[in-house]
């Protein structure tokens, strides 16, 4: 759907985007991440043709923007980080204007549908200038949805929303994904991206450092997997048996106190990343007569992946020979 090749943008001495190669496939939710100034917004602006690249190309729906400018623009829905609106218009007038611009069939009906979807129908006759930041963000999303675009490009779509608003927007985005729409989301809310993205790309200092599924990124960055097992008690010799298991790096016993359930023990087992170890560990513990109260695996979350990659400027793509 979106194919970026060798995209570079220089502003004088500053290279904002450096030889970026990226593909966003049809139907995926692509989380586009990076610290401030990483080059995400510049990339999005170049995708939209609003900033001219120094070199490289962007193809959307298999075409360069210059080949079918209006046709491509009509199939995109774009939400920027800041909501710039005509404050002297009501929400209904604002959306009606854009419905006409995009030549939406049955525009008035569609305007009411999207207002309902973002829960602003009751406020549609109020001036946009009087809207709160969160309401403007929802109205911006309504504008994006108005013409039923095939690709949604969203820059910080939940930044001004309260938790209810975040959930509403997340649900809408997931609905769009279920309808086969492609989403490119740039956000600092890593937990949100982790929840909904099918793939993520991480940029830093103008370069794309990683582009993969969350599971694959975790796998690539994880040195050790920590499995914590809560036991009623630790049978004799079980720790040694666990240590003998292949790929187990270390086993520690940790006393824990459980509310109303007296004291117990936990085993903190560190293994090499890769294959699933929990079944094997459970078998060893059961055969030794241990009563397992709980078992959990600690994995790197997106925040840890993000910080690991950007702080150390690690290029996973270079390892793959992509960059």
């Amino acid at each position: 759907m979106i194919e970026i090749r060798g995209l570079t943008k220089r502003f004088g001495q500053l290279t904002a985007v450096d030889n970026l190669n990226l593909r966003v496939e049809k139907g995926e939710i692509f989380g586009f991440l990076g610290p401030n100034g990483a080059g995400k917004t510049t990339t999005i602006m170049m995708i939209l043709g609003l900033i001219r690249p120094t070199s490289g190309s962007v193809r959307i729906f298999g075409k360069e923007l210059s080949e079918d400018y209006f046709g491509i623009k009509k199939r995109l829905g774009v939400l920027s980080e800041y909501q710039y609106m005509y404050d002297e218009m009501t929400a209904r007038e604002y959306l009606t204007f854009f419905a006409r611009l995009y030549q939406v069939e049955q525009g008035e009906k569609r305007v009411q549908e999207v207002l309902e979807r973002v829960r602003l129908r009751d406020r549609q006759d109020e001036l946009v200038g009087g809207y709160s930041k969160g309401m403007k963000q929802k109205l911006g999303l309504a504008r994006v949805l108005l013409h039923d675009p095939e690709i949604l490009i969203l820059d910080e779509p939940t930044s001004s929303l309260d938790p209810y608003g975040v959930r509403e927007v997340r649900d809408i985005l997931l609905e769009e994904h279920e309808r086969g729409r492609t989403l490119l989301i740039s956000s600092h809310l890593l937990s949100e991206i982790e929840r909904i993205s099918t793939r993520v790309g991480i940029m830093n200092k103008g370069r794309l450092l990683a582009e993969n599924t969350m599971d694959e990124l975790r796998r690539r960055l994880t040195q050790e997997v920590t499995i914590t097992v809560d036991l009623e008690s630790i049978p004799d010799g079980v720790v040694d048996k666990l240590r003998e298991l292949p790929n187990v790096v270390s086993v520690e016993t940790v006393p824990v106190s459980r509310d109303g359930a007296g004291a117990g023990m936990s085993l903190v087992i560190k293994t090499k990343p890769g294959a699933e170890r929990r079944a094997e560990i459970a078998r060893v513990l059961s055969s030794a007569g241990a009563i397992i109260l709980g078992m959990r695996t600690s994995e790197m979350n997106l925040e840890e992946v993000f910080i690991t990659i950007t702080e150390n400027n690690i290029s996973l793509l270079a390892e793959e020979g992509v960059a």
Binding site: M45, L48, L50, I51, R52, Y69, F70, K73, K74, L76, V78, S80, Y82, Y84, M85, Y86, E88, F97, F98, R100, L101, Y102, Q103, R143
Partner: protein, 276 residues
């Protein structure tokens, strides 16, 4: 749908939205009121002359008040035009428009057409106002008034194109308004200074002043093509002297000037982009 159809559609919508915004604003009505008050003042002074002298030796006494009204209206629209692109770029709404099926041509043309529609309303009001004045003063509603209104439309187009051009090359609305006022003040000041200097006989001027007058004469040859107000001046003179060829020359020159400036506006707008 072809690119041309998309362009025309976007142009029409942008012009419509802007027109609505201007019509519901107060500025246009203030300017029209000021224009009519000034025109009435001019008419009144002619009437006073007649009452004092018993006669007024002018072929078409309403032309000058109409010229003042048209001049003021054109300046106002030029000022509005100088704000168009830069203000919307400042506010960020320009960027949002360009997320969709809008390009620089449709945007600039939308802004231009909106201003011309507003000027069309000005012309209509002027027509009604001067027809009424002609009736109550018995000055007569001559064809010259129609010709001047007609040429004023083309001249206003060049003033508006000049405003849009300034708006396309500046970074902020403040800068574009400042530039517009600066240029207009210079053009008007130059015109006034040049006319004054030309009216003084050579023998009353020092050698330095004669050199200055010569330099200003060279400068005038440039300014008469650069300043949109000069086209209005030429058109009004053509109407006042009933020169048909002068009239059509002024129309053609205004049109060419407007087209060149609009094309330049689109070029610079493309180069500067839509980002704040």
């Amino acid at each position: 749908m072809s690119a041309t159809s998309y362009r025309l559609h976007a142009t029409r919508l942008i012009a419509g939205r802007e027109l609505r915004s201007t019509v519901f604003g107060i500025g246009i009505y203030i300017v029209m009121t000021i224009a009519f008050v000034l025109a009435s003042y001019g008419v009144n002074s002619f009437l006073y002359n007649i009452s004092q002298n018993g006669a007024l030796a002018m072929p078409s006494p309403l032309l000058l008040p109409l010229f003042v009204a048209v001049f003021l209206s054109s300046l106002y629209l030029g000022l509005l035009s100088s704000l168009t692109i830069s203000r919307e770029r400042d506010q960020g709404t320009l960027e949002v428009l360009f997320y969709g099926p809008v390009d620089s041509f449709s945007y600039v043309m939308g802004k231009f057409i909106e201003q011309m529609l507003v000027f069309g309303v000005f012309i209509l009001f002027n027509l009604v106002f001067f027809a009424f004045v002609a009736l109550i003063t018995n000055f007569g509603f001559s064809l010259d008034i129609i010709w001047l209104l007609l040429i004023s439309f083309f001249v206003a187009a060049s003033v508006v194109a000049f405003g849009i051009f300034l708006s396309s090359i500046t970074k902020s609305s403040r800068a574009s308004v400042f530039l517009f006022i600066l240029f207009m003040a210079f053009f008007i000041g130059f015109f006034w200074g040049y006319s004054t200097l030309m009216g003084i006989p050579d023998k009353e001027l020092s050698a330095g002043m004669i050199y200055l007058r010569q330099a200003l004469d060279y400068l005038r040859r440039v300014i008469e093509w650069v300043s949109p107000l000069e086209y209005l001046n030429r058109g009004a003179l053509a109407v006042a002297s009933s020169s048909v060829s002068g009239f059509f020359a002024a129309v053609g020159e205004s049109l060419a000037y407007g087209v060149v400036l609009l094309a330049a506006s689109i070029f610079f707008f493309n180069r500067k982009g839509v980002k704040k």
